[in-house]
Amino acid sequence: MALFNLNINGKTQEIDVDPNTPMLWVLRDHLKLVGTKYGCGIAQCGACTVHLGNNAVRSCQLPVSSIGEEKVTTIEGLSENGDHPVQKAWLEVDVPQCGYCQAGQIMTAAALLEKNPNPSDSEIETAMNGNICRCGTYIRIKKAVKMAAGAAANS
């Protein structure tokens, strides 16, 4: 066990865990931030995507000891009132079916738009390819990403 001071969603959190514990389980089991989902545990599905600084990363592969001072943002901290342009677009397009993969999809999309405010279809496909949706909502996801990009461009 070891003590870590983590910066999560703008708050400092003190955690006492095994240094190898992936952030996914720190968030879920220890901080009860359950929006970040477990899907595969091996960086294949994207359900556990969070932001480390400005990058979308797979929290199931991210040992708590590797975080240091870096800011971690989860779906719960993406916006104060659920009004991040990506979240708004997701509601407008009514993307989710079961919804389980969607937090990871949204976090990947938000990081993409941060870096590339006006992605092409193929850039969206490349960025989102690591996020599996068994319900098959990919078309709506792409549409919502474009809508969010458009909204950001117009604002």
Binding site: I42, E76, C98, C135, G136
Partner: protein, 748 residues
Amino acid sequence: MVSVKTNIGRRAFIKNTSLASGGLMLGFSWLNSCKSNEAEKMEVREMPKEWFEINGYLKIGDNGLVTIISPNPEGGQNVKTSMPMIVAEELGVDWNNVIVEQAPLNTALYNRQFIGGSQAIRTSWEGLRMAGASARYMLVAAAAQVWEVPAAEITTSAGMLHHEASNKSVSYGNLASAAAQVSVPEEVELKEIGDFDIIGTSKKNVDGTDIVTGKPLFGIDTYKDGMLTAMIVHPPAFGLKLKSVDGEAVKSMPGIQDVFPIKVLEDDFTRQHFDTCAFLEVVAIVGGSTWEVMQAKKALSVQWEPFETYTEERQPYRGPQQTLTIPAGLESTDVHRKKMAEMVSKKAEVVRKDGNPEAAFKNAVKVIEQTYTAPFLAHNCMEPMNFFADVKEDSAQLSGPLQKAELTEQTLAARLGMPVERIDIQMTRLGGGYGRRSYANWALEAALISQKMQAPIKLVYSREDDMTGGIYRPAYQVTYKAALDVENNLTAIHVNAGGIPESPLYADRFPAGAVDNYLAQRWEINTNITIGSFRAPRSNFMASAEQSFLDEVAEAAGKDPIDFRLELLDHASKNPVVSNPIDYDAQRYAGVLKLVKEKSKWGETTNGISRGVSAYFCHNSYAAQVVDMRWENDKPIIDKVTCAIDCGIVVNPDAASNLCEGGIVDGIGNALYGEQTFKDGVPQKSNFDTYRMIRMGEAPKQIDVHFVENNIDPTGLGEPTFPPVFAAVANALYKATGKRYYDQPYLT
């Protein structure tokens, strides 16, 4: 208006009215159940001081806010939005003033709280309408009493009651208390379909905001005070059972509390249909955090041994009790394939025979014969199997994602030796179901672990436990044979369909009834690998084989594939084969083909685009699809899928489209990539690094969904678009590559 007796779902009206007499105040949490995408409206919308329960489906607040209880679990089919829409329609309220709550499992109040067979809306349609209509009746009766006017003179609109002659109006909220005292009518009037103003308009997912902000909605998100985390270790291969476990070493690992074997089902347990269980004894590991338990799981040493052939008693969903034989042995996919191939020439059981197929084949000018195969498939719900259990001496509290909570509760009661009344189950949102969560062996495991630990526990399967745990879509094979006469008329069809361990055959479906000479046979090969319902069970394979085959026959007959099918359907409706019944409506079937033909602009060609068509009937609905494909760098790119579907009245059109799009994408994924294989009993794919799932780049660029407009009561939607697309893809692949695709997955 249509008068109907309120017999369907009446339990829910009656029991609760007695409860509600006197205006029952119900516990209620605004934040938990608020209709979230209306978040902005929250500030203007005040919570009522009091709620009045009108019946089991709805309560009305003194300020006019209405809570509608959604009876069925939600797993992405959007029933949590569309079922309450039906109640709201007949009640006559503004949808913006509706809050939706998930019902707990309550067999005394609700019928069939299932997800499965795409039947939620179909089987609850009348009951939900009556719930709304009888509440409206009670409000009208209350107003008639207060105003001392005839009830027939009272009209309602958007949560208001009016009496035009005396120019009186009052809101539902003001009369809710009085309405709760009115006795439930024996008969109610339902709206004319043409007067619907909520049904048929698109309403957003009531859980949308909670989903996009990461609220705890799913079973796996359950965390309770004092709760422990449990995982299981199951045999690594089908055909093996537990020999011994040495848990001592891992018990001293950080956070680990206990390691012990559990007997999931006793040997003499009479199973219900959904009690399929591959691994009768598993090892439980219980500890503090998931990560700690995962580490212990890796370190644990367990010995396994082969089991002998055994039998189990099973009560199937329909029909008499059966004794199933579970064969010993470690099975492999290559042996499965060989065994299935041998069945092509073996005698099989005749299920249906029309006319004289033998003679027709003898007299045929052309005979076409092809064999189609498909592998076992894992469901791969994105939320791994999990369940929360807090089992005490004489009661149990459980929650988690279930498709058949009522049946799970019965099994839990039998296994725990506890009456169902002492078992309370909360149904959480399902992170996907597709059939998998009808088989809740993990709920039993959770309960048994909690009982042993005398503590609340959450059982979580790792992805590997989930993917290697059985309940797969069976492996199938079907051989089709067709006879053409000199004028290229289809004179006979022979279908011989089997699988491991079940046949996918639906003997009375198309093209039965459309061909004068028809023979259907079935066979089965036993296995110890467990199987279960998988999105559109059996149909998901029959459609792919049948519709690929018809494409090939149409080509041999020199006919356009859509025209060829329409000819057959025309035959089925004009000169039906009368010796045996058919289970489809040939005209509705033709209807979706005609619609897809028109909407896809079938017949127009575009350079580089290859097109494939397919149509299928299942779950009481009809779906037809055209796939537009390009072949680039040795890979298919699907530009567009045009889909026509006849599922009767569409309750929530945009959400319905979403579900159809999902069925199509999921179908394409499974057709191209889906398979689970075995070597010496060991599932060869255990996670998404080896089990290929469709990803965004491989999904169609566009899907257009067109609904047939009619006034037929709604039928299934979650499954019907899934089966046909397998064949539409195969037929497009043929056009693109010149090669017919007979074995799934098409791309390996």
